[in-house]
C-alpha cells in the first residue's frame, strides 16, 4: 500500500494532463533531435539540386535558397538549440545554487556583496551584454552556452537565497540544531532538499528562456554561425520580406518548433512543481 516518494511524484505528475502531454512532446522532439543523423534525409549542409523549392514528397519541408533540405536542417538545428538550452541551464543553475547557498546560509557581509553583485548582473541590459560578449568571444556553440550560463544565474541565486532564509527559520532546522547536528547535515539534508523543488521548477523556465535567447541571438546573427543550423539562425532568413511572404516553409517550421518547445517545457515545469510537493493534495 505504501508508495515511495518517486511513485507518489509520478502519480501526481499524471494528474497534470497538460504536463503529461507536454512531457511526451518534449521527449519525442528530443529523440528526433538525437536521431537526426539517422532520420535526416540529407546532410544539414548538403546542397541538393532544388533551390527554394516548396514542400514536396522529395523535400517534406522544402528547401532554402541555396538548396539545403529544410527538414534535415530543422532536425540538426533542434539538436543544437536543445543542447544550448540544456547546457546553459545546467551552468547557470549550478552557479546560482552555489552563490545563493553561500549568500543565504553564510549571510552577513558575504551575503551583502554577493547580492549586490547579483543586482548588478541583473540590471545590466541583457541583450547588450550578450552582444558585447559575443563580439569579444568568437561566436560559436560553446561561447554561447557560456554566455547564457553566466548571464542567467542571478534569478536562481535569488530564489535559492530567499528559500534558504525562510527554511533556516523553520522548526525542523531548529530541531536539528538542538539535536546538535553539524552544519553540513543541516545544509545538505534539511535545507537543500526543500529548496530542490523550487530550483528544478525554476530550471525549466531558464531552459525555455535559454532556447528563446539562442533563437533571438542567432536571429541577430550573433549566435550559432552558419552554415551550422540552429532554430534561431533558420529564422534568420525571415528577415527579408520576400522570404516572409513568398517562402513561408523556411520560417514556419523552426518557429513552430521553438513555440512548441518553450510552451511544453513550461508546462512540464508546472506539473513538476505540483508533483514534487509532497503536501499538495491532488
Amino acid at each position: 500500500m505504501e508508495e515511495s516518494y518517486l511513485q507518489s511524484v509520478i502519480r501526481r505528475f499524471r494528474h497534470h494532463k497538460a504536463g503529461v502531454v507536454s512531457f511526451w512532446i518534449v521527449a519525442v522532439i528530443i529523440v528526433l533531435a538525437l536521431l537526426a543523423p539517422v532520420l535526416a534525409p540529407y546532410g544539414p549542409q548538403e546542397i541538393t539540386s532544388e533551390f527554394s523549392a516548396a514542400p514536396s514528397l522529395k523535400h517534406l519541408l522544402g528547401t532554402d535558397q541555396i538548396g539545403r533540405d529544410v527538414l534535415s536542417r530543422l532536425l540538426y538545428g533542434t539538436r543544437v538549440s536543445l543542447f544550448v538550452g540544456f547546457m546553459a541551464t545546467v551552468i547557470s543553475t549550478m552557479l546560482g545554487v552555489l552563490l545563493g547557498l553561500l549568500a543565504g546560509y553564510v549571510g552577513g557581509a558575504l551575503d551583502m556583496i554577493l547580492m549586490r553583485f547579483t543586482d548588478m548582473v541583473m540590471s545590466f541590459p541583457y541583450i547588450l551584454l550578450i552582444l558585447v560578449a559575443s563580439v569579444i568571444f568568437k561566436p560559436g556553440l560553446w561561447s554561447i552556452i557560456l554566455i547564457f550560463g553566466f548571464v542567467d544565474w542571478p534569478g536562481v541565486a535569488r530564489l535559492v537565497r530567499g528559500s534558504i532564509l525562510s527554511i533556516k527559520e523553520q522548526d525542523y532546522v531548529k530541531s536539528s540544531q538542538i539535536a546538535g547536528m553539524p552544519r553540513s547535515y543541516i545544509l545538505f539534508s534539511d535545507i537543500l532538499p526543500n529548496v530542490m523543488t523550487n530550483i528544478l521548477v525554476f530550471a525549466t523556465t531558464v531552459m525555455a528562456t535559454s532556447i528563446l535567447d539562442e533563437a533571438a541571438l542567432s536571429f541577430l546573427g550573433m549566435g550559432i554561425q552558419p552554415p551550422a543550423a540552429s532554430l534561431g539562425n533558420m529564422l534568420n532568413g525571415a528577415e527579408s520580406v520576400t522570404v516572409l511572404t513568398g517562402m513561408p516553409w523556411l520560417w514556419i517550421s523552426p518557429g513552430l518548433v521553438i513555440i512548441i518547445l518553450v510552451v511544453c517545457v513550461n508546462f512540464v515545469g508546472d506539473a513538476l512543481r505540483d508533483a514534487l510537493d509532497p503536501t499538495a493534495v491532488v
Binding site: 505504501e2 516518494y5 523553520q170 522548526d171 525542523y172 531548529k174 530541531s175 536539528s176 540544531q177 538542538i178 539535536a179 546538535g180 547536528m181 553539524p182 547535515y185 539534508s189 534539511d190 532538499p193 526543500n194 509532497p278 503536501t279
Partner: protein
C-alpha cells in the same frame, strides 16, 4: 512530598538572571543607539530532576524566548544557564556539543517541526547515528521502540510526516526529543494547536514518559488549564519577568500576584457548581517592552496598585507559610490579594 523532593534533590537546571534584549531595527542609524526590546529581563528559576515546571504568561511575555535560550537556539544577552552545574552560556563549543543534546525541545507546530522531505525513520535515525547513541545495526530496533513508547505503530517510520495527523506528528516530535536520552525537554506549547481530546492524550503521554524515564519538563503554555494538569510547580511570567512561582496547586488555589489571579480566574470551569472564584477582568494595555515603566510592570493594569507600585519595582519575595514549599511572588500587596482571593471562595 513535593517539598521533600525539592529539599533533597539538587536542581538539574538553574537559571540565573537570564536576560535577552533585542535591538530594535530602524530606531537609530548606529547600532549602539538602537533602543532595546526587553524580551526576557532577569529571569531566575530552578528545575528539579523528574519534575515539570509550567511556565505561563500571555503572548509576547518572553516565555518562549526563555525556552529557546535553554536549548541554545537563542543566545542570552546575559545571565547563566547551569545544567547539571555546567554553565551552558559560557562553555566552550567543543565541550558544549556533548551536553547540549541532553536538552531537547518539542515545538508547538508539529507540522513545521518535522522535515517534510524525510521519512519518520530517517528523521529519528540521523541524530542517534551522528551522536553514536545507536549503531547502524540496531538503530531500526531503537526507532521501533521509540515509536511504541509514544504510542505509534512500529511501522510508522516508513511513512512521511504529512501522512500523520497533528496529534500523531506531535508524538513523532516527542519521540525525536526522547531519542537522545535527554535530561530536560522544553515543551513549547506542545498542545496549543491540537483538538481538546488530542490535547489530553498528548498531556497524558508526557506524564507517562516522565514516570517511566524520569525526564524533566519545562512546560510552556499561555493557558493555565493544560499547565495545571501536568505541572508540579508553576511560574507566571509577565513582560519578561517571572512574577510568581510556586507549587502548582497552591498557585492555582491561592495566587499571590494579581496577574496570576486574573489568569486563573480566566480558566473556564466545566462544572458550574464549582464556579466559585469571581471573575477578575484584566483591563488596560500591556506596557511596551521597549519603554518599560519605572515601577511595577503590572501597575497599569492592576486594580490593587498603590503609589508605591508606580514608584519602585517589587522584588521576588517568599510568601509561603513556614514549613511550606517555596512560593515566591513579586508584589507589594500580595497579602491583601491572597486574603481577598480566599474570601471570594468562602
Amino acid at each position: 512530598m513535593e517539598q521533600e523532593q525539592g529539599k533533597e534533590k539538587e536542581p538539574i537546571l538553574q537559571v540565573r538572571d537570564l536576560v535577552k534584549y533585542y535591538p530594535q531595527a530602524n530606531t537609530a542609524l548606529l547600532p549602539r543607539n538602537r533602543r532595546l526590546l526587553h524580551a526576557v529581563d532577569g529571569v531566575s528559576f530552578e528545575l528539579f530532576q523528574g519534575e515539570t515546571l509550567g511556565l505561563v504568561g500571555e503572548s509576547g511575555c518572553g516565555k518562549s524566548t526563555v525556552g529557546r535560550m535553554l536549548v541554545g537556539i537563542e543566545k542570552p544577552t546575559s545571565g547563566e544557564i547551569l545544567y547539571k552545574k555546567k554553565d551552558l552560556v559560557h562553555m566552550p563549543g567543543g565541550e558544549l556539543r556533548g551536553i547540549r543534546t541532553e536538552l531537547q525541545m518539542v515545538f508547538q507546530d508539529s507540522y513545521a517541526s518535522l522535515n517534510p522531505r524525510k521519512r519518520v525513520c530517517d528523521i529519528l535515525a540521523a541524530p542517534m547515528l551522528y551522536h553514536h547513541m545507536a549503531e547502524k545495526a540496531d538503530v531500526n530496533r531503537r526507532i521501533e521502540q521509540l515509536l511504541e513508547q509514544v504510542g505509534l505503530p512500529k511501522n510508522a517510520g516508513r511513512r512521511y510526516p504529512y501522512e500523520f495527523s497533528g496529534g500523531q506528528r506531535q508524538r513523532i516530535s516527542i519521540a525525536r526529543a526522547l531519542s537522545l536520552n535527554p535530561g530536560l525537554i522544553v515543551c513549547d506549547e506542545p498542545v496549543s494547536a491540537l483538538d481538546m481530546s488530542i490535547q489530553a492524550q498528548i498531556l497524558n503521554l508526557l506524564k507517562e514518559l516522565q514516570d517511566e524515564l524520569g525526564v524533566t519538563y519545562l512546560f510552556i503554555a499561555h493557558g493555565l488549564g493544560a499547565v495545571h494538569y501536568v505541572s508540579q510547580r508553576i511560574a507566571v511570567m509577565y513582560l519578561g519577568k517571572i512574577v510568581e512561582i510556586g507549587p502548582g496547586t497552591e498557585v492555582f488555589r491561592n495566587p499571590r500576584h494579581p496577574y496570576a489571579q486574573m489568569l486563573i480566574s480566566a480558566v473556564p470551569v466545566a462544572d458550574p457548581t464549582k464556579r466559585t472564584l469571581t471573575r477578575t477582568e484584566i483591563e488596560g494595555e500591556v506596557p511596551s517592552a521597549v519603554d518599560l515603566p519605572k515601577g511595577c510592570r503590572f501597575a497599569s493594569r492592576c486594580p490593587y496598585a498603590t503609589d508605591r507600585c508606580w514608584m519602585s519595582e517589587p522584588e521576588m519575595r517568599h510568601t509561603e507559610a513556614p514549613g511550606e514549599p517555596p512560593h515566591l511572588a513579586a508584589c507589594f500587596e500580595w497579602e491583601r490579594i491572597a486574603a481577598g482571593g480566599k474570601e471570594d471562595r468562602s
